[in-house]
Every structure is written in C-alpha cells, then in structure tokens.
C-alpha cells in the first residue's frame, strides 16, 4: 500500500519533529490549547493538570496557564493517514517506525501500547484507562515524572512562550523531549569568547 510506504518515509521526520525544541520559532504565532475544553476537562488552565491521575493535585495558586498545541508541528500527523486499522498488540517500533529511537521504552521495558492506544494511534493511553490527544502528552508524562511536572506547572521547568507579561503559554513536554529518547543530545556549542577573562583566568 502506497500510504504505508509514505508513512515509513515520514517516520524519520516525525522523530525529528518530536525532538525539535522550539529554537528559532520567531513567527510569534501561538496556537493555544483551546481544544482542551472539548475533552470534558473544563478550561485549558490547570483543570487538566488537576485531573492528571497520578499527581492528583493542582498547581500552585495563580499559576493558570495554557499549553501550546503540539500536533500542528508533528510532521507525520494525523496517524490515520497511514494507520488504517488498529495497531497490532505487541508490535515493535523498530518494525513499524524504523526511525524511532526507542531508548525510553527500552529502559522501562514498555511496549508501544503502554502509551499508544491500539484502537486509535492518534491517542495516548493513560493509566486510568482514559485516552489523551498528543496535545495532552504532559498528562501521560505526569504519571511518572512528578517533580518535573511540579516544576513545569510552577515555571522552573520547560519554556514559556510569547513574553514574561500577560497570558502564560508554555511548551508541552514533547516539544523539547523526544518521548522515545528524552535526553537532550550532545552538540558542538556556539563559538566561545576570545577576550580572556582578565581577573580569573590570567591567574593560572
């Protein structure tokens, strides 16, 4: 099926898109998580976090915020453009998505369907049995990463968009972290200083 081949070609782009961390996003346009209201969790502020099944508590008072939608920047999306039938239980990412580096699932010995709903690949499975969209990936992450979620809701983890003033809009977990290999990679840094630091380095 040609759609399936197209899917394979796009799989690499998906992995890259998931790892993209928002640098150079200078267009200023932000799509807000307005769709969250439709999923029955109330306004797009902390209502969603409060209902996150594991943390089970709301963020600090006054820290209402919005999460930028993730799906507009996922390259091979929606999943249904390739997945026409339910994903086979027990299937491996290296068979279906050759470009997905399944570091995280290997570490914790999980399979695709631990996080992905087999019946609908565009949805994520939560421990409660609920499903969540890829825009709500932080609900999935919050089930294990408690301290990070806490810091994210407060403002010590993650990135704020737009500005320090006004409506608080933050990035979702998967904008910076590839969910299949969440650790940020090594890279060559931007050029260093040429002027010596006169007071300290000269002492050596």
């Amino acid at each position: 099926m040609s759609a399936r081949r197209a899917c394979r070609r796009l799989a690499g782009a998906l992995a890259l898109a998931l790892a993209a961390c928002g640098r150079g996003e200078g267009d200023g346009s932000v799509q807000l998580s307005a769709s969250f209201g439709q999923s029955g969790h109330g306004p797009p502020e902390l209502a969603l976090l409060a209902s996150a099944p594991v943390t089970g508590r709301s963020g600090p008072e006054g820290h209402a915020f919005d999460v930028r939608l993730r799906t507009p920047r996922v390259t091979s999306y929606p999943c249904a453009s390739c997945h026409e039938r339910p994903v086979t239980a027990g299937s491996r990412a290296d068979a279906e998505h050759a470009d997905v580096r399944s570091v995280h699932p290997s570490e914790v010995a999980e399979r695709c369907e631990t996080c992905h709903a087999p019946a609908d690949p565009a949805r994520l499975t939560l421990q409660t049995g609920e499903t969540a969209s890829l825009d709500e990936a932080y609900r999935l992450c919050a089930q294990c990463h408690f301290s990070q979620t806490d810091a994210w809701a407060g403002g010590a983890h993650g990135k704020r968009l737009v500005g320090w003033q006004g409506r608080r809009v933050v990035m979702s977990c998967t904008e910076c972290h590839d969910p299949h290999a969440p650790v940020l990679s090594q890279q060559i840094p931007f050029r260093g200083p040429t002027i010596p630091r006169a007071t300290l380095e000269d002492r050596r």
């Binding site: 640098r23 500005g163 320090w164 890279q187 840094p189 050029r191 260093g192 200083p193 002027i195 630091r197």
Partner: protein, 348 residues
C-alpha cells in the same frame, strides 16, 4: 572657526539666532532654538552656557560648510550632515536630565546617524520602566548544557561588536562537585555537555546595590526603577572604574569602534540598550531592556533550548521567577559582598 573669546555673549546669541531664522541648515535638526525664538526673545530668556556654545559652534560649522572643524575637505553632503549631527550630539545632556522633547531630538539624530553609517533604518525607543515591575532572573545549573545558544542570541539582539567578538554572557564549565570560578573555563569548545561537568552562566546580575554605579565619576550609569542598571553611552568617559568595581566581570569596554555588518543589525533598539555604541565606552547586559520593557523575554531566555533560564517580575506573586524563589533551593554568587544581585541560581 573664529575665536570665541573675541565675541561677546550677545554676539553669540545674535549670530546663532540669525542663522537659525535664516534657515541656513540643510537638515532637520530640532535641537536648537525653534524658529519662533527670534534673537530678541533669546536675549530676554536665560540661556545656559551649554546651549549658547552649541549654537555658536553649530552655526559656525554650517557657515563654513563644516569643512575645517568637523568634516574633511571635499566631504559629501552626507558626510557633512553626519559631522553636524555628531557635533550636535556632543552637546546633549545626560539622559536623566533630558526633557521628553530633548530625548526625541537626540533619537532623531541617532536614527539618522545610524542610517548614514549603515544604510539601515533603525528605531530607537526610550521606553520608560513599567510601574510595579522589578525584574529578576533565575538560572538552573541542573539544566544548562553549555550550548551557548544564549550567547548567540545575545550577540544578534544587542548588536554586539563582531570585530572583537564581544559577548555579555559567559558560560563556565565546572567539574561536578563544587562551583569554582577560578578553576572553571569559559573557553571550552568541545561537544557539550561533557561527562562529569555542569555549566554556570554569568552576565550582568542587575544588583540592587550596584558598586559599578557607586564608582562612576560622571553619573553615566545608574539603576532604573525596574532594577536594570543602564549606561548613557554618550555620557560615559571610558574611565572603566565600573569595570574594576564589578565583582562579576559583567561589563565590557569598546577598545575599538564596534562593527556590525549592516545586514545583521537589529533595528529594534533602545536608547539605554542595544543601539550602536561609540568607541571608548563601557557596555553590558541590560536584561534586553528593549524587549523586557515591552513585556517580552530577554533574547537569552527565549533562545535557551533547555529551559534553564527563568525571567519575570519579582513584584508579581504569580510570576514564574517568584515560584522558583519560593520553591527551589537558590543561591547567588558572592552574596557576602552585599551587592544583592537580582540573579539567582537554582537546581532541579
């Protein structure tokens, strides 16, 4: 140029006024007496020495086609115009003593000078501080990976001198265990993050008790109500006392004329921030005053790919910076000096 001592003060005013009224100036320079002010009314008004001198020399410069004093012989119109603008700039006051009209006048001159020099249209603002805002900054040493994306963004945003590779931000590579700036290096150039190391960034900490301001002999640097310590680049005499006084090595000196390729100039500028700096003056990080006063994040915060940088209003209890200060273990560098930096470090 005729010797000023041979003229009486009244001669000075009459000559300057006559030139003004005669429209002998080729450019729109609103700095001098307005056309409504005839020489006679000028006589009745108290005119300070600075203004009188400016009018005298300005008039003389125009009268001689700006040839002898300000511009080389055979100068083009643009060179002559630039020379006159620079001449008028020379007599302007300290930014804190300028009226709104005077600020507008100098901004017109500076924008025109930038256009003449680089061919770029720049916008220089003098946006005042917002009420009930005190900026604060927090840096997560668990998150920083030493990519220096902040440095790159800072250079682009603040029109830093490319000739000397000026950088406001230093990222120090520390060995796991303790923070020791004497052993750490900011000159690393290998794949980061390196095993067994962590990274600590420094820049101007916008101290609440800034020693650099205290030592300035001419009042060219001061702390604004929103906590940003700024520099009046034209008022700075380049003595570098502030650099000696700063315990954090946050200030930089322009040993040569700063150069930025015209295509790379950031045209959104602030008088106290990222506009073109002359040779021989000190500059430093201003928390991107041209951005932060408009409600935007500093360029380094926006560029950081790890989310290690947190910026906000310390007076807003709901701000992220306040959450960090209230919920994380924070520290400041050289806290015993009593400089009270508004820049905290924290860990996950």
């Amino acid at each position: 140029m005729s010797a000023p001592r041979e003229l009486t003060f009244e001669d000075v005013l009459r000559y300057a006024g006559a030139v003004e009224a005669g429209g002998g100036r080729s450019h729109e320079a609103p700095c001098s007496a307005s056309p409504a002010e005839t020489p006679s009314t000028l006589f009745d008004k108290p005119v300070d020495r600075r203004r009188a001198l400016r009018m005298l020399f300005g008039a003389a410069a125009v009268g001689t086609q700006a040839a002898s004093a300000c511009a080389p012989l055979g100068a083009t119109d643009e060179e002559a115009e630039a020379a006159i603008l620079r001449w008028e700039e020379y007599f302007k006051g300290n930014f804190r003593l300028m009226s709104d009209a005077e600020k507008a006048e100098t901004i017109v001159r500076l924008e025109r000078l930038a256009k003449l020099r680089s061919g770029r249209d720049v916008t220089i603002k003098a946006t005042p501080p917002q009420p009930d805002v005190m900026f604060g900054y927090a840096f997560n040493i668990s998150k920083c990976k030493g990519y220096r994306s902040c440095v790159e963004a800072c250079i682009d945003e603040n029109n830093l001198d490319r000739g000397t590779n000026m950088q406001y931000i230093r990222i120090f590579e520390m060995e796991d265990g303790e923070i020791d700036f004497h052993e750490a290096s900011a000159a690393f150039q290998h794949e980061v993050p390196a095993e067994g190391h962590f990274y600590v960034g420094t820049q101007c900490f916008q101290c609440a008790n800034p020693p650099c301001v205290e030592v300035c002999p001419v009042g060219a640097t001061w702390q604004e109500p929103d906590g940003i310590t700024v520099i009046d680049y034209e008022w700075c005499i380049g003595c570098r006392y502030c650099m000696a006084a700063c315990p954090y090595w946050a200030r930089r000196f322009n040993w040569s004329e700063p150069t930025v390729p015209p295509a790379e100039i950031n045209p959104t500028q602030h008088y106290l921030g990222n506009r073109a700096k002359p040779k021989g003056v000190v500059e430093k990080c201003t928390f991107c005053i041209q951005r932060s006063r408009e409600g935007r994040l500093p360029a380094c915060v926006e560029a950081c790919p790890t989310g290690a940088r947190v910026f906000g209003n310390l007076l807003d209890p709901a701000s992220e910076i306040r959450w960090v200060l209230e919920n994380k273990r924070v520290f400041r560098i050289k806290e015993d000096l009593g400089t009270e930096p508004r820049f905290w470090y924290f860990t996950d």
